[in-house]
């Protein structure tokens, strides 16, 4: 079983991108690659070889679910666990995202001090 070290974060909002990077690197001790769009993520994901992918749902151009679909087609990336991040969580929505293949959904706003722990928990759900 691999260890959780490298996280790919796909998020178009620069403020959230920056705060998540700090939260995951400084608090969680992870290595983070931030991408501003689904396309950028697709270009870089194989080089980075992440252990975990965090995807914003609503992005201009390719949105989170579309990005996930494309990621799944890539060699070596198809099995990497993915969580969505979104500000909108209505009943049934989490189930919908799970049906798309995401492990879980992280709700915005999030507490930067807790984010790393949240991801660890999602990770352990899968590996536990």
């Amino acid at each position: 079983m691999s260890e959780l070290k490298r996280i790919l974060h796909v998020e178009d909002d620069p403020s959230i991108q920056a705060v998540a990077k700090v939260a995951l690197e400084a608090v969680g001790g992870f290595q983070v690659l931030s991408c501003a769009s689904g396309q950028e993520a697709l270009d870089q994901v194989q080089g980075f070889a992440p252990d975990f992918i965090l995807l914003d749902v609503m992005m201009p151009g390719m949105d989170g679910p579309q990005t996930l679909e494309k990621l799944r087609e890539l060699v070596d990336i198809g099995e990497v666990p993915v969580a969505f991040m979104t500000a909108k969580v209505q009943p049934g929505e989490v189930a919908h995202y799970r049906s798309l293949g995401a492990l879980d959904v992280i709700v915005k706003p999030f507490d930067p001090m807790q984010l790393a722990e949240q991801i660890r928990q999602i990770w352990s759900q899968r590996h536990g």
Binding site: V19, V22, M58, A87, P109
Partner: protein, 558 residues
């Protein structure tokens, strides 16, 4: 001690705060844009609205997610509600004009509230206070029904680096107290429109609190009854109107210094080891630092190394009695001021008096209760510290005076040479200070000096020493700190100082500072080091001011 405070500039909290600040700057741009979009929505045709709404919804959606992450909880929630409203409209494809107007009004309110700040954390993050000193900024609440007086006080205290809030009525203050407790409270006794006096209000507030707040009282009445009532409500200061705000600020500063002051140092001289240990335990429990000396002959070594603020002396010791030792101590000019308390089983008043006449300040009779011992030592130590501060500190800034800071530089340098650590010396000078005095008056000039002193005090570590070297010149010594680190720290202070807005009769103005830094070398001497810092300061002045220069490291054999 907490050496790392400034030497690691980017802690996680700082980093997050910085990102929060960037975000709040972004808000200042984005919120007016949202308001404009709302305006456009109102003026558009139904068809255009259907085009405009999705973009607006997406933007609100994003705001709902980000704002809360950076602590703007309320803003985030409001954005979310508006987003949901927009979503509903898009589904139904029909809107009431009236609803639309409410929606746009709320959208525009979004901007306004964020400017004004709607919670303490938001105010902090949007940087509304004049000085952005972050985290450790002291929060002061002012209850004053006269708007001009209250606002003036708020602005001046902000200049000094406090976060001050002014409230006109007790109900406004109550609301704020529910949100957050301040570090100190300033209350006007005479409130024209209230049922109770400011003091009644403060007294009942203090009773509700677990730990009473430091309280300063403003009044027109100087009578004894009012003063008594004020003290009973926990007042630490009493100021007649019109209030001299710098004086009030210096009292505030003293309240906080006492709160966070270092523990009192007590030296016990007693040949009875068990008894001495027992006293030591009691005093340590009360938060004091204690050393025990059994051999009176070593008294001066211990005085010098430990630098106690109170000495407890056993009266009956072999070969040297307590009063004899007290006389020896007081024969030395350096220790003339130190309070001496005798510990003795002696209950004969005449003998006690005899001892006190020779030297010494108080008599504590054995067996002594723990509380009595703590009280006796505490009160002496407190007075001794106040007195020694008053004598060695500059009255305007509360910093060390010329001679004392120079001495401190020598001490730190010696320590640095002994431990092999690097230390840095900084000379700091306010640019064009004469101009401030000429244009705005000496009171304004004093404000500037004091504000810089406060800023330095807040930004430097506790291990750093800081003194007022001359009129507008400051000298600091930073142990365990390279010149490059020192430059970074002072540069940050320089930027903050330049941001300060001072208020004077002639309107607002701001000042800058220049500084020179010199680091220790293998063969540094205190005076040389200070001169090198001074030369670097001179270079900073000639290089155009508002900058920090580091002295070139000394040539060998220089």
């Amino acid at each position: 001690m907490d050496k790392q405070d400034n030497t690691i500039p980017q802690t996680l909290q700082q980093h997050l705060r910085q990102l929060g600040q960037q975000f709040s700057e972004r808000l200042r741009q984005e919120l007016p844009e949202l308001a404009q979009q709302g305006e456009r929505l109102l003026q558009s045709s139904e068809g255009q609205r259907q085009q405009l709404l999705p973009a607006l919804r997406d933007q609100l959606h994003r705001l709902a997610g980000t704002a809360g992450t950076f602590g703007f909880t309320q803003l985030g929630q409001q954005a979310r509600e508006l987003e949901q409203q927009a979503e509903r409209w898009l589904d139904q494809q029909q809107r009431q004009q009236q609803d639309l107007e409410t929606f746009v009004a709320a959208l525009q309110q979004l901007g306004a509230e964020s400017d004004g700040g709607s919670s303490q954390s938001e105010q902090q993050r949007t940087g509304r206070p004049v000085v952005r000193t972050e985290g450790d900024t002291r929060l002061i609440y002012i209850l004053e029904d006269e708007i001009a007086v209250g606002e003036n006080m708020r602005l001046t205290l902000s200049n000094f680096g406090y976060r001050a809030e002014h409230f006109r009525t007790t109900s406004d203050l109550d609301a704020a107290l529910q949100q957050q407790l301040p570090d100190a409270l300033i209350v006007d006794v005479n409130l024209a429109d209230e049922d109770c006096s400011g003091l009644d209000y403060a007294a009942s507030l203090q009773q509700r609190l677990e730990v009473p707040l430091p309280l300063l009282v403003l009044t027109h009445q100087h009578d004894f009854a009012t003063q008594l009532q004020a003290v009973r409500a926990g007042a630490l200061g009493f100021f007649a109107k019109p209030v001299d705000i710098p004086q009030l600020e210096s009292r505030l500063e003293r309240c906080f210094a006492q709160q966070s002051g270092e523990p009192y140092r007590v030296l016990i001289v007693d040949d009875d080891r068990d008894l001495a240990s027992r006293y030591s335990l009691v005093l340590r429990d009360a938060g004091m630092l204690v050393e025990i000396l059994q051999d009176p002959a070593q008294i001066f070594d211990h005085l010098r190394d430990f630098n106690p603020e109170v000495v407890l002396l056993d009266v009956n010791m072999p070969y040297c009695t307590g009063p004899e030792l007290a006389q020896i101590i007081h024969c030395n000019d350096d220790w003339l001021r130190i309070p001496i308390i005798y510990l003795s089983a002696e209950t004969d008043i005449a003998k006690q008096m005899n001892a006190l006449i020779k030297a010494g300040d108080d008599f504590v009779t054995k067996p002594i209760s723990d509380n009595a011992l703590v009280a006796a030592v505490f009160s002496r130590a407190q007075r001794a510290r106040l007195l020694s501060d008053a004598l060695s500190r500059d009255s305007l800034t509360g910093l060390l005076k010329h001679g004392d800071i120079k001495e401190q530089v020598a001490i730190e340098l010696e320590r640095a040479l002994r431990t092999g650590d690097r230390a840095s010396v900084v000379m700091l000078d306010i640019d064009h200070f004469k101009r401030v005095n000429d244009e705005h008056g000496h009171a304004a000039g004093d404000n500037v000096i004091r504000a810089l002193a406060n800023l330095l005090r807040q930004r430097l570590r506790r291990v750093d020493s800081l003194g007022r070297y001359g009129g507008e010149e400051f000298l600091a010594v930073l142990p365990d700190c390279t010149p490059q680190q020192a430059k970074q720290i002072i540069d940050e202070i320089r930027e903050r100082f330049a941001e300060l807005r001072f208020i004077a009769d002639g309107g607002e103005f701001s000042c800058t500072l220049s500084a020179g830094v010199a680091g220790t070398d293998v063969h540094s001497q205190a005076e040389q080091l200070r001169e090198r810092a001074d030369k670097a300061l001179y270079a900073a002045k000639h290089g155009g001011r508002n900058q920090v220069r580091v002295a070139a490291s000394q040539e060998h054999g220089d």
